[in-house]
């Protein structure tokens, strides 16, 4: 009992001592807490002062700091900038203009002298500048919203834009002749191409490349006529390449004639007449007219819906007629449709016994015939070394054929081959089979392919000027042949591109294109033997600014490279690029005349060698261009050094 009482008294004394001790500890804790509150209060005032200071004080007050002084000397900043801009405005201008290091330097040079605390200036969760690497336990934050003017620009003044309505451009037009025939064993083969050049042009240069298969030597060439608008040019051809087949007494020839004097704006006509003593005279891939001229025209906008006709040449083959027409459908084209219209004259109607035999054969992007006028290909026997299929002649007729070829079309290069009373090297006609075409006088009765399609946007928008150039491959005749070329930044917006294939003998062609070190893209492969187009469309999306590449291969039906079918150095790349003949509002100037001068100069720089015949402009006054950057949240964080 007594022991228990003593124990209780001890416990009471001990508890009192403990409570006293705990009370003192709690008081001490409160003191620490108070210290923290006081510290945060001081930091908070410091952060708020810095925000107010940055957004109030003009940058002019700090024109002696190293970074601002250097910017003034270089002309990046003007005295007006410094007088008008607050420090935060200046820092924000550089930061949001992408000059982060300048913004950081200015912040450091301005704030370092004003505080001994650690601080950091941030905007949109990015640190512009911080003078300490570590962060404190207590951080005070003050913030403000700011927006500002772009550096070097007056805050009010005049802006102007300009656009050309009429321009003069130097450009190139390439008019291809189709691979086509034929004249068998000394019989005449004739081609007439009628075409139009713009009326208001000045022709600087016109070169007619000739690619044909004819007699085996100059004496025995049987090159009868090459007339341009009635002027004989046969003897002015500069022959560049001859590849003879002596056992047939025939030659693949390539040359050119300068026809600048003979060509004229408007309608033109070129006529070719050739023969060969043996075998088969015809035109090879690579025959084309290249005209460079100056054109003055009013700028326009084209339609999204495109309808085009690709006409056949007028082909008169005295041993049947054939032609390989190539045309293109651009990448991205939708709702594509196509129609093949053939007006064939003097077609032999042949028979074997009482069976009607095939006289017309049409291919569309395939090695399987799209159309045959009869299913039988019988002959009584073969004459002339096995090349000529002997049949009965049952009469002569004109045939007008019209086909919907929509289902056969592909985006890219399309090839239509038409054979009338001939299908080499198997059957050749005896009379005057004609693929009729006279697009200038009789367009609807001519032979043509008509396509239509819709694009996502018009090929030419208002203010855009299209320039076409041709680059000759050069080098040697070889197979395969690669051509490398550079596209400049100015030529970066390519809208169309083609490779013009120049060959002597040919079989089937493969065309590859690629940019820089990217993988090769096969853009075209002949669908059938002898389906070698004069030109192949290359999607512009392949090209890029820098080095680009094209490779051509002539291959046999089995896929192996042809050993004697060369790609000639006069093959070429044709590309059309767009230049904008319009410039938007530019910098702010103190007077409207200065703003207009600037807009016109920008337009001149952009259009380069294109002549601006008629330029329009407008100007307007602007004030307080606060939207140039911001509004953005700026935060100043302050904490004690560790």
């Amino acid at each position: 009992m007594r022991r228990g009482w003593v124990f209780t008294l001890d416990a009471a004394i001990g508890m009192c001592a403990l409570f006293l001790f705990l009370g003192i500890v709690i008081l001490l804790k409160q003191g620490t807490s108070f210290e923290r509150v006081s510290s945060f209060q001081l930091l908070s005032y410091q952060a708020r002062d810095m925000v107010d200071f940055l957004s109030t004080v003009k940058a002019k007050e700090f024109d002696d700091t190293p970074t601002i002084r250097r910017l003034l000397q270089r002309g990046v900043l003007t005295e007006e900038d410094l007088q008008e801009k607050s420090l935060l405005d200046l820092i924000g201008s550089f930061w949001y203009g992408g000059n982060h290091s300048i913004a950081a330097n200015i912040t450091g040079e301005v704030l370092e002298n004003f505080t001994s605390y650690c601080f950091s200036l941030q905007t949109e969760n990015q640190t512009i500048y911080s003078n300490c690497n570590d962060t404190g336990k207590i951080i005070a934050v003050a913030s403000c919203l700011a927006s500002g003017y772009e550096v070097g620009k007056p805050v009010s003044g005049y802006i102007a834009r300009a656009w050309a309505t009429k321009v003069t451009k130097n450009t190139t037009k390439i008019i291809p002749f189709l691979p086509e025939g034929s004249g068998w064993t000394g019989r005449r083969f004739e081609v007439t191409k009628n075409f139009t050049l713009p009326e208001n042009i000045t022709i600087y240069d016109a070169k007619l490349y000739v690619s044909a298969h004819l007699g085996d030597s100059q004496e025995n060439a049987e090159f009868e006529h090459l007339t341009v608008n009635g002027v004989e040019k046969k003897d002015e051809i500069v022959w560049l390449y001859l590849q003879e087949e002596s056992w047939r007494e025939t030659t693949a020839v390539y040359g050119y004639a300068n026809v600048t004097e003979e060509l004229r704006p408007g309608n033109n006509s070129i006529y070719v007449s050739i023969k060969t003593p043996n075998y088969h005279s015809h035109l090879h891939p690579g025959m084309r007219l290249v005209v460079t001229y100056s054109l003055t025209y009013d700028l326009y906008s084209s339609n999204r819906t495109v309808k085009k006709r690709f006409y056949f040449d007028n082909v008169v083959g005295r041993t049947g007629a054939w032609a390989t027409l190539s045309f293109y459908i651009p990448e991205g084209a939708k709702n594509v449709s196509g129609r093949l219209h053939l007006n064939l004259k003097h077609v032999d109607d042949t028979r074997v016994w009482w069976w009607d035999t095939e006289d017309i054969r049409v291919y569309v992007n395939s090695d399987e015939p799209f159309y045959r006028d009869a299913s039988s290909t019988w002959c009584y026997f073969f004459a002339e070394g096995g090349y000529y299929c002997v049949r009965d002649f049952a009469g002569e007729s004109d045939r007008v054929l019209d086909f919907d070829i929509t289902s056969e079309l592909v985006n890219g290069t399309n090839v239509v081959s038409v054979y009338v009373n001939c299908y080499g090297d198997y059957h050749w006609g005896r009379r005057n089979a004609t693929i009729y075409s006279s697009p200038l006088r009789d367009p609807n009765s001519s032979s043509y392919v008509e396509i239509s399609y819709t694009l996502d946007k018009p090929p030419i928008l208002y203010g855009e000027i299209d320039i076409t150039k041709e680059l000759i491959f050069g080098g040697d005749a070889e197979n395969p042949k690669q051509f490398d070329f550079n596209l400049t930044e100015r030529e970066s917006e390519v809208s169309e591109s083609f490779v013009h294939i120049a060959q002597g003998f040919s079989s089937m062609i493969r065309t590859y294109a690629w940019f820089d070190n990217e993988s090769e893209t096969l853009v075209f492969e002949s669908p059938a033997v002898r389906a070698v187009p004069e030109n192949v469309y290359i999607p512009p999306s392949i090209w890029g600014v820098g080095e680009n590449h094209v490779k051509l291969e002539d291959v046999q039906p089995g896929g192996s490279l042809s050993s004697t079918n060369y790609i000639l150095p006069w093959s070429s790349l044709e590309y059309t690029y767009k230049v904008k003949g319009i410039v938007g509002y530019g910098e702010v100037f103190n007077s409207s005349s200065l703003a207009i001068q600037d807009a016109i100069q920008r337009l001149l720089n952009q259009t380069g060698e294109i002549g601006l015949e008629n330029v329009k402009y407008d100007t307007k006054a602007v004030h307080g261009i606060k939207w140039l950057w911001g509004p953005s949240l700026f935060k100043v964080l302050v904490w004690e050094r560790g």
């Binding site: 004394i13 001592a17 006293l20 001790f21 003192i24 008081l27 001490l28 003191g31 108070f34 210290e35 006081s38 209060q41 001081l42 005032y45 410091q46 002062d49 810095m50 107010d52 200071f53 109030t56 004080v57 003009k58 007050e61 002298n113 004003f114 505080t115 001994s116």
Partner: protein, 157 residues
């Protein structure tokens, strides 16, 4: 008999020693805690006065266009900047009235204004607080005549 014998036992002396030691430690701790609490109290008061005194450079006072005869609340700013007229009025009315308006008690106040290169632009009052026992200060950044300045407010006694 048994009470005396009980009191002089070995256990009694050990317990008494422990008790006295504990009491001594407790009293020592209590003394030091009292000093610290007093120091906190002083510091609390000083910091409160320090902050409120430094704020006079950033507020307009009452009435807004006060002068030395009608001032109720001291404030030296107008429209976000230090107002030279109000600063002149503060100097004119003297330190005693300023200390009274700010309820500084036994504390002495001093304002130092320097430009960003450290050049002294303004000192009020012209006193030397070096060597004083309790000195607290705060530095604030403000704008005076369009230029940035650092205002050091010192409280001492």
């Amino acid at each position: 008999m048994w009470v005396k014998g009980q009191a002089v036992t070995y256990d009694f002396f050990v317990a008494s020693a422990i008790f006295l030691l504990a009491v001594t430690l407790l009293l020592t701790y209590w003394y030091r805690a009292s000093l610290e609490i007093e120091e906190w109290r002083v510091k609390n008061f000083a910091l409160e006065k320090l902050v409120s005194s430094s704020q006079v450079w950033f507020k307009e006072g009452y009435p807004k266009g006060w002068n030395e005869s009608n001032v109720v609340e001291l404030g030296l700013a107008s429209e976000g900047e230090i107002n030279q007229t109000k600063v002149n009025a503060m100097v004119k009315m003297g330190y005693g009235k300023v200390a009274s308006l700010l309820s500084l008690g036994t504390w002495d106040l001093c304002f130092e204004v320097r430009d960003r290169k450290g050049k002294l632009l303004f000192l009020f009052p012209e006193v030397n607080y070096l060597g004083k026992k309790d000195v607290y200060h705060i530095e604030r950044i403000a704008v005076w005549n369009g230029s940035p300045v650092v205002i050091k407010t010192v409280l001492s006694r």
